[in-house]
Symmetry: C2
Subunit: 367 residues, 2 copies
DNA sequence: TTGTAGGCGTTATCAG
DNA sequence: CTGATAACGCCTACAA
């Protein structure tokens, strides 16, 4: 006799067996009514439905997952929940997931490899059907282990060197190249870069784009102008201050992510410098709030929502079609959004064409 | 004979039974080694550990949850993942959860009651041990059902009228009162308010604080100056434009959330108005990025991190100590952070003391 | 110091 | 058209 067979109002959630008893049918029938998985007479259906209502039955997905060996749920591990880039990605992921009948469990690592590891373990132990990961960049063996076991895993934003798995990434080199090339076209020759954490792939790629643009324009790279930040606001601030305190500071700064760009702006403001009059700025990552900055930021925009969509689609394909052998890689294209935060330098060097400027220089006077 | 008893390398995750077989012990022993739940000889422990390594065994939390009727996991439903207020709360929640041995599953409703309902159902079906909820404000019966069943639930940021459950909320009335009172002290008498969605409790409370401050200062409320936004950037923009197009526009605007405040600033900028020279601004919610705005925003700051901490502590208490009868309510206190975005109005009305101003008026000239 | 066995709630394979 | 029954992987009396 079940622990709940006495008719009293229990607080424990009802089970299939309870419903079956109340409806006067077998458990199997209840299950089939719930899942529409075999024919059940209308009359029986009614009885079952009534019992479900009465008992406020709700399926126990835990038991379901155990039995089906499928949780219809996947993980999304982001490296900074406060970064608008990632929240935009979350939206894309959620929309696709919902359309395809999956639930998303969102984890935040704050760029901490230890938390990344814990999240991966958690998700695997909870038997999430797969994971979407923006890696912190530390290569712990656990990832290899998951991949060996053919656990569905898609990296996004960043890839891990030496790890071969599905991935959705941006053409970071091209994005940086465009940004720096644009600065050069406006007459800048001393261009600083505030980059991200060195171990992260995007950082090195964005640095690479910077270098190529300089090279293509015949500008010699100056090590002093290359700074490594921490991908957060304070890092952008500190490294920008470093650049400004150089004996011969740059006339333009390229900042390789959104939060650091805000820090860079704060640094310029704290030094009383005007943008772009004193120093021009180009940032990586566009975001809605940038629109209220004056002057408005020129940015390398990533297709964030599509990022999430593509990553989710790729993961679901892995989960459902199983392991097609070769890892798939999607390369997304950035867009340079030109606004007022660049502009020509005040005193053009003698060795360059001074036919730049235009309406852009009109706007923007800091403070 | 188990489906995996042949020694070949299977891709299926190893189970306790597998480990037991390889170690030459019983499943019970393996379980006890894993959980440290009874004495096991060192020798046996070694054997088990070795088998675990060899098979790369990881516990199946799904089975564990089913058996234990506990998932050590709770839900966190936020109404807007892109809002820095909520991401800050997330941090507080995560930290407490981790300290207390819980995992957090984060859901985003985007202020959509249908998504809220789905998230609640999902969490309950996945047998999350409880839920932390910032309600969209629609009172669907599902919440009542959960509470009747004594499902641990803590509301934060907002409460639902007529629903009695644990909650962590801000003293919104006091916050608004301070903000508006401050504007009055600076000489403003025509003060507009851009509020949030009417159905949300915080919106009405913040409106209430505005009203009380006007009343206390002998200012008659003008319906034209009271506008209802949508809690997002575009709403703040649109309602601010409305205010500016009034025949007799306000000299100051109080905006009741962070995103709308940014929209309001954008609106002022698009009209070429200076802050605070032409229009003063006070916003609700402080956030890191506000620091780069010029003039810097005067805001009503919420203790966001503590919000998350308190909410998580309350929930875990409910989960672990069970149902103490009375719902607990925590009331947090806002702080007015005075910066440059207020200031005195340009042409003081004749009926007021003009002894206000001070150093604050020096800073900040938009554009 | 360790093993046996039953059950958590669901689904799927047989029968009927 | 519907019912028994045996798993899924783990935990935990109870027994030895």
């Amino acid at each position: 006799m079940s622990r709940r067979s006495q008719g009293g109002t229990s607080n424990l959630p009802a089970t299939v067996a309870d419903v079956a008893r109340v409806a006067g049918v077998s458990g199997a029938t209840v299950s089939h009514v719930l899942n529409g998985t075999r024919y059940v007479s209308d009359e029986t259906k009614q009885k079952v439905q009534r019992a479900i209502e009465e008992l406020r039955y709700e399926v126990n997905s835990v038991a379901q997952s155990l039995k089906r060996n499928r949780s219809q749920m996947f993980g999304l591990i982001v490296s900074d929940i406060a970064n608008p880039f990632f929240t935009a990605v979350v939206r894309g992921v959620e929309d696709v997931a919902q359309r395809r009948g999956y639930n998303v469990i969102l984890c935040n690592t704050d760029e901490d490899p230890a938390r990344e590891l814990r999240s991966l373990q958690l998700l695997h132990q909870k038997r999430a059907d797969g994971v979407l990961l923006s890696p912190t960049g530390i290569h712990h063996g656990y990832l290899d282990r998951l991949l060996e076991a053919a656990y569905p895993l898609v990296c996004f934003d960043r890839v891990l060197p030496g790890v071969s798995c599905d991935a959705v990434v941006l053409d970071n080199v091209a994005g940086s190249y465009q940004a720096v090339d644009h600065l050069v076209a406006l007459g800048h020759r001393r261009i600083g870069i505030v980059g991200g954490v060195g171990r992260v792939g995007t950082s090195t790629e964005r640095l690479e784009g910077y270098r190529r643009a300089l090279l293509a324009n015949g500008i010699i790279e100056e090590p002093d102008l290359v700074r490594e930040g921490n991908s957060r606001l304070d890092g952008g601030f500190a490294r920008t201050i470093d650049l400004l305190e150089l004996p011969n500071p740059p006339s333009a700064i390229f900042v390789t992510n959104n939060l650091m760009t805000l820090g860079a702006i704060a640094a310029l403001q704290s030094r009383g410098l005007r943008i772009p009059g004193d120093v021009a700025i180009v940032g990586f990552d566009d975001f809605e709030w940038a629109m209220i900055l004056r002057p408005r930021l020129t940015t390398v925009a990533q297709p964030t929502y599509e990022f999430g969509q593509m990553a989710a689609e790729l993961l679901i394909a892995r989960i459902e079609q199983g392991v097609g052998d070769a890892p798939r890689r999607v390369l997304l294209t950035p867009t340079l959004r030109i606004r007022e935060s660049c502009g020509a330098i005040r005193v053009p060097h003698q060795d360059e064409f001074a036919q730049v400027f235009g309406s852009l220089t009109a706007a923007g006077h800091g403070r």
